[in-house]
């Protein structure tokens, strides 16, 4: 039975990663209300899941082994644990841009790029590689590429440009 779950997990990981739900940028976009992407994902997922549940209930479907299907309702209690836990999680979520499965995915992606040295150009370069830009005052730029540094300007000395010989 376990290999089935493994396969399902692989499928889920593929869907999550292809939908870019594992991206810090997408999370930021969501919290700034600048795109419908994440809301669309969660909204349609909930709709499809709810529909699936209704179908299961209506037709009284059973599991593959013939057992009844029932989801135990969550205990409400005082509600504190949900609000507090949820808020704490939300803070961490916005900071890191990752939920639990996504942490795993990001870790896997990073390990993949480190070990096999592929696709450097568009994912974290080797994490030990520091950005190569300095402004005239030898201030390390935070931008990984020249064009965005020029666009925003050197943070400490906004009127200075990147040294052209680098």
């Amino acid at each position: 039975m376990l290999p089935v779950y493994l396969a399902l997990g692989i499928g889920f990981g593929i869907v999550l990663t292809k939908s870019e739900a594992v991206s810090w940028y997408q999370i930021q976009e969501m919290f700034r209300f600048q795109s419908v992407h994440m809301y669309g994902i969660v909204g349609s997922a909930v709709a499809v899941a709810a529909l699936g549940l209704q179908i299961i209930r209506r037709f009284d479907l059973r599991t593959a082994t013939g057992e009844e299907i029932g989801v135990p309702p969550k205990v409400m209690g005082s509600g504190v644990r949900y609000v507090a836990g949820g808020a704490l999680f939300g803070i961490g979520w916005a900071l890191t841009g990752a939920c639990r499965p996504m942490h795993g995915v990001q870790r896997a992606l990073r390990i993949g790029s480190l070990v096999l040295c592929r696709r450097h150009a568009n994912f974290n370069k080797s994490p030990l590689a520091l950005p190569d830009l300095r402004c005239r005052h030898n201030y390390w730029s935070l931008h990984a590429d020249r064009s965005s540094h020029l666009a925003v300007g050197c943070r400490r000395h906004p009127d200075h440009r990147v040294r052209e010989d680098r």
Binding site: L6, F31, V46, I91, W93
Partner: protein, 184 residues
Amino acid sequence: MMHPWPWYVSGPLIGLFVPVLLLIDNRSFGISSALRHTCAAVLPTRAEYFRYDWRHVGAWNLAFTLGILIGGAVVHLWLSAGAPVALSQAAQQSLSQRGVDTAAGLVPAQLFSWHALTTWRGLTMIVGGGFLIGFGTAYAGGCTSGHAISGLANLQVPSLIAVVGFFAGGLVTTWLILPALLGH
């Protein structure tokens, strides 16, 4: 296949996992419990919280989570065109204004790398953020899959409260804390 998928494709696919997991063996879709099962399996502790038959209750979850890791690697290695994340114009602008490079793949390298761990900001965001995620998830009994998707699909009020909590925390962070951390 090589390009990112739109939400109306991936969303329904994700939603399908809820009834499918139920139909297989009455498994409630939720991933964060994987940590609890891992601790129960591995830690030599006598706490009540970890004293349950993790093999029965949670082994499926561990296999599923392992699959997620593999799936992520599969996409990164073979199914990705390597383009930067497709962000809206507005998002790109607001992030660039704060000095975040938007072309660096799924996650901004300057905020999340080994190098970043040596800075206070990086430490706060990575370790602090990670801790908050772990603690909050365990406290609330679920993360986005368990509460936001399964819980809401099941019309559970505690899940709705949890999701409201997620958003409250996330919004506060995005609008108040991150600007402070990113230095503008």
